[in-house]
Amino acid sequence: MSNVIRFLESMGRQPMPSQGYAASVAALDVQAAQQRALLDRDQVALNAMLGGRSQVFFGVLAPVEDEEDLEALAA
């Protein structure tokens, strides 16, 4: 697991006081750019550096149950 993801997982499990955040990031064994992105709380930059998808779609609900309903809307 990447150290950045491990750090985020650890923060997810246990909230960290904001005054200790910068010191915790500084102590991480990660690239300087990743440290900067963590300090800036820059989700987009972190994702780009860690190789995450540039775009996700995740809607798993449709307003209609099936094709018949969909066709009825167009009629």
């Binding site: 990447s2 923060m11 709380r41 989700q43 995740f58 798993v60 609900l61 307003p63 969909l70 809307l73």
Partner: protein, 271 residues
């Protein structure tokens, strides 16, 4: 050698990386032979990939221009094919796999219909986070939830003395079910629809749950008409607070009082 009977578990990952995964869901993820995942944040997907490097993302089933019902059917079929092959299959979904989520419900129903064991493990949904982040209790005035397009396609009864919450607002009005976003022209019609019950300047909230423990949820307040040009994405939920006080149902209160009096009279006779 006896072939193992396939099983399906669909589990909720919650909304925030590392924060919401239940022990039972984690156990399903760790013990499954095959793991599929659909999450709402690419960093969360990397986290899942770290837990299960063999994880199969359901992302490739989406394509702009492809009817989502086809994507959903293919996702369900991909999971069920492995169940039929005798595998312990786990489908990981962001939030709660059974809340505003057609695919996990259809997968569980499909597996059960074919005689396989299938379970759904709840997760912390965006709805749960919304109540916490906005300080809303759905029990205070009542709360109605609709998928935004469905709200536009069908005639629904709105109660403006309760909260109204519209999901997938970024896709509002998409009759093709094949777009990744709609825009101002569609939301203008939604505002028109809502204007029958809400004043144009009624304050609404664009809400997005935080997906990382280092980021904040989005709680952006704006007048109703401003949603036309606002930045509303797939993950945005529109929260419309009550616009008027609850109206007493005097006829029902009178009838309840009659019942109370009758019960008291019967108790007095019996006593």
């Amino acid at each position: 050698m006896i072939q193992q009977q396939g099983t399906l578990s669909v589990v909720g990952l919650g909304m925030m990386l590392g924060a919401h995964l239940s022990p039972r869901s984690r156990s399903h993820i760790e013990q499954a032979d095959v793991v599929f995942a659909l999450v709402s944040d690419p960093l969360v997907e990397l986290w899942v990939q770290d837990m299960r490097p063999d994880m199969r993302s359901l992302q490739p089933y989406y394509r702009e221009g492809k009817v989502r019902l086809d994507s959903y059917r293919e996702m369900v079929e991909a999971m069920l094919a492995e169940v039929r092959a005798g595998k312990r299959v786990c489908g990981i979904f962001y939030g709660h796999p059974g809340v505003f989520a057609m695919v996990p419900h259809k997968a569980v129903a499909g597996a059960k219909a074919e005689g396989y064991d299938a379970v759904m493990e709840p997760g912390i949904s965006a709805e749960d986070c919304l109540y916490a982040d906005l300080g809303i209790d759905p029990g205070t005035y009542g709360c109605a939830h609709f998928e935004a397009s469905q709200f536009m396609f069908y005639q629904r009864r709105i109660d403006p003395s309760a909260y109204l919450i519209l999901w997938q607002i970024g896709l509002a009005g998409d009759r093709s079910l094949s777009r990744f976003a709609t825009g101002a022209d569609y939301r203008r019609l939604l505002v028109e629809l809502l204007s029958a019950d809400y004043p144009a300047d009624h304050e609404v909230i664009a809400y997005e749950a935080a997906t990382l423990p280092i980021t904040e949820p989005r709680l952006e307040r704006m007048p109703l008409t401003s949603i036309i040009d606002a930045d509303l994405r797939l993950q945005t939920t529109l929260v419309i607070p009550p616009a008027r006080p609850m109206q007493r149902n005097q006829a029902m209160l009178d009838r309840l009082a009659e019942v109370d009096h009758r019960m008291q009279a019967e108790a007095a006779v019996a006593g």
